[in-house]
């Protein structure tokens, strides 16, 4: 057990898996000589050489597709797409090849690969570089989509993703790379498809994933101290498959839910969570499920505008208070 950053956990786990299995290799833009835009692959080129750590041309479609083809022949590529925004250029290969090859050919070829890519926002990167489009992957049968919020999960889920025989979209987050947390020394992979009750509680269920799960824990802690509220926090961890039972069970207990997401509200990931709760916990819900998400605009560069467009801790707290009010008015 040691306390390290989310970045370190990713780096160490990738390195350990490359040492464990010859078939695992890293491929992506600027991951070698440049050591990665966010330095997850720092040092790996020196240690493993250019065959295991492959710098690619700027050609997301080409190198992601190449990784898929290599996986069809039994290798286990770990692709880095610099940010999820650029993954749009590889989307056809991911949706129409990686996610389809196993089924479309009647189960004859597996595609054991991982696509690592960070989402973000809040770094003044502007409209095209601040999008959270994990929805595009979570929507697609044939893909698995995981989104760790802690260093421990970054390790456990990356282990699981690399050892999984299906294509896994591994969502990271720019704002989490420097966050620290305890990471167990043993190599137990997480189970993809399972959410975690990050904090048990009875007053309200607060749901998040990736950065918003981190937010959720912070806010729950803060409200426990300030208001003595007992909030249950659910960290989805996996967006596809989605762990509906864990979500619904929690709300059946708390009778209220607030969903946090870093993407746009309308049609965003939170819509499915809210719809799931409203269906599965229909008779238990004492107030509408509240979603806290980005304003639906092309994210502006200017700091005050960007700040206004992104959910703040105060927005989350307000949403929780309003939801509990609504519950009160119905009890």
């Amino acid at each position: 057990m040691s306390i390290i950053t989310y970045r370190q956990a990713l780096h160490d786990t990738l390195r350990a898996e490359m040492l464990r299995d010859e078939k695992v290799f890293a491929i992506g833009e600027e991951i070698g000589i440049f050591e990665g835009s966010y330095k997850i692959t720092a040092g790996l080129l020196k240690e493993f050489g250019p065959k295991r750590v492959r710098d690619t041309p700027i050609a997301e479609e080409g190198f992601t597709g190449a990784a898929i083809g290599a996986a069809m022949l039994g290798l286990r590529p770990v692709v880095e797409i610099m940010t999820i925004n650029f993954s749009l250029l590889a989307l056809d290969q991911i949706v129409n090849a990686a996610a389809k090859i196993y089924g479309m050919f009647g189960g004859q070829s597996k595609v054991p690969m991982v696509i690592r890519t960070p989402g973000g926002g809040g770094q003044q990167l502007g409209a095209t570089h601040s999008q959270n489009i994990e929805l595009y992957y979570a929507f697609v049968p044939g893909l698995k989509v995981v989104a760790p919020s802690t260093p421990a999960d970054a390790k456990a889920l990356l282990l699981a993703a690399i050892r999984d025989d299906d294509p896994v979209l591994f969502l990271e987050n720019l704002a989490l790379y420097n966050t620290k947390g305890e990471v167990p020394d043993d190599d137990t992979p997480a189970q993809i498809g399972k959410a975690a009750v990050a904090r048990p509680g009875k007053d309200l269920t607060l749901i998040g994933y990736s950065r918003t799960a981190y937010e959720a824990r912070e806010v729950a802690q803060r409200l426990a101290e300030s208001d003595g509220l007992d909030i249950e926090v659910i960290d989805l961890r996996s967006l596809r498959p989605l762990d509906r039972p864990t979500i619904v069970e929690s709300v059946k207990k708390t009778h209220a839910a607030v969903v946090l997401e870093d993407d746009w509200l309308t049609y965003g990931v939170g819509a499915e969570i809210a719809a799931t709760i409203s269906d599965g916990a229909f008779d238990y819900l004492d107030a509408p499920v509240r979603r806290v998400a980005m304003a639906e605009v092309p994210l502006p560069y200017s700091k005050p505008l960007e700040t206004a467009a992104l959910p703040s801790e105060d927005d989350i707290i307000a949403a929780i208070r309003q939801t509990l009010d609504a519950v009160g008015r119905r009890r």
């Binding site: 129409n96 090849a97 049968p141 044939g142 399972k194």
Partner: protein
């Protein structure tokens, strides 16, 4: 015609020359090298003719089944590309890999997959080469190392490039061949894939089947450089063009290309063919003139090749009759087999979403609710 062993034609020396020639991008030279007296023996010529006739009859049968609504979806035929297909595949080893696009029936049967299984796939039956999940555009067979037909134009190119990467990663000596149409050379994946293959010295042969048309759009209306093989120069990649109506010429050119790829020099080979019918079975090809269609008939590569073999005394009338008859039987047997093969069980619908079972996978039929209706809880229950 000199009966030389095929292997001889793939000596490094010869292929190297071929490559250098191509790299200078001097068309005539390439043309000549392609048209040089072939080294295939008579047995191979007969094999070519037999395979070509098999493709011809198979596709005709498929077209009929389609009009009888026994085949659904899109159905793209290899009619007119028979010579190209048999020449290309003859130059591959059993251990080499093949990626194609949606126009692939001929590749599947020539690569050695039983026609019954290919036809069964077209019929969407369990005995189909892709268990009925793929259909006409998506044939896959691991033992034949046919790694799939793909329906998205250009989608197969990055995948084939990656297969080459895996071979190189393992230091083994297979080669990957990937075919595409002329129109496919204008899409981004073509550029990204060839650049990566050349940059990393991957064992891949990129084959352009230039049948002069996209769907109805001609090469000169879609490619600013209509001499498509020349586009290899953007990647310092070796390339050549060859007459796709002559299986021996195609075989020779492909042998050079494959030898080059095996030495980690990827190669771009342009094969000039004709598409005898519409883009797919449903396309009447109104955009073609009667004269054009006449010409196509006259230059039908299967008939032309048959005439040539008869003239050269490689083939005699009786043998031809036997081969043609045998091909017709193959096709009708395939159709009969396909029709008898059962459809996949609906219970298997959720078997192929993931290779690894995963908790909470949604295995819901459209009529099923997400949650089973529950008894209304009493206040106490809360």
């Amino acid at each position: 015609m000199a009966a030389q062993p095929r292997s001889a034609s793939a000596t490094p020396a010869r292929s190297k020359t071929g490559v250098r020639t191509a790299q200078r991008g001097t068309t005539p030279k390439n043309k000549r090298s392609a048209k040089a007296p072939s080294m295939v023996d008579d047995a191979t010529l007969l094999e070519f003719y037999t395979q070509m006739m098999h493709i011809r009859r198979f596709e005709e049968r498929a077209a009929r089944a389609y009009t009888q609504a026994l085949i659904g979806g899109y159905c793209h035929l290899n009619l007119g590309e028979e010579a190209a297909i048999v020449g290309l595949l003859k130059a591959l080893k059993k251990t080499d890999y093949l990626f194609t696009n949606y126009r692939e029936h001929g590749y599947a049967i020539t690569r050695g997959i039983h026609p019954n299984r290919v036809m069964a796939e077209l019929y969407g039956r369990v005995d189909g080469v892709s268990k009925g999940w793929g259909g006409s555009m998506h044939m896959f067979d691991l033992t034949a190392r046919l790694l799939g037909g793909y329906g998205i134009v250009g989608g197969q190119l990055p995948l084939a490039t990656g297969a080459g990467l895996a071979i190189d990663y393992r230091d083994s000596d297979e080669v990957v061949m990937v075919t595409m149409g002329d129109g496919t050379t204008n899409i981004g994946a073509f550029h990204e894939s060839l650049n990566i293959a050349a940059l990393w010295n991957l064992p891949v042969v990129y084959v352009i089947i230039n049948n002069k048309l996209g769907m109805g759009t001609s090469v000169d209306k879609s490619s600013a450089e209509p001499e498509l093989y020349k586009r290899a120069s953007s990647y310092r990649m070796a390339s050549a063009e060859v007459d796709g109506s002559d299986p021996t010429a195609v075989f020779d050119a492909t042998t050079t290309a494959v030898a080059s790829a095996r030495e980690r020099k990827p190669f771009l080979l342009e094969v000039h063919t004709e598409r005898l019918k519409g883009h797919s079975v449903v396309d009447p090809a109104k955009y073609r003139s009667a004269e054009e269609n006449e010409e196509l008939k006259e230059n039908d590569p299967v008939l032309t090749f048959a005439r040539r073999l008869l003239d050269d005394g490689v083939l005699d009338a009786d043998t031809k009759k036997k081969i043609d008859q045998e091909a017709a039987t193959m096709a009708s047997d395939a159709a009969a087999f396909a029709e008898k093969s059962p459809f996949p069980e609906v219970s298997t619908l959720f078997d192929y979403t993931y290779a690894t079972p995963v908790p909470n996978d949604s295995r819901r039929l459209p009529g099923q609710p997400l949650f089973e209706p529950l008894p209304i809880p009493t206040g106490a229950a809360r």
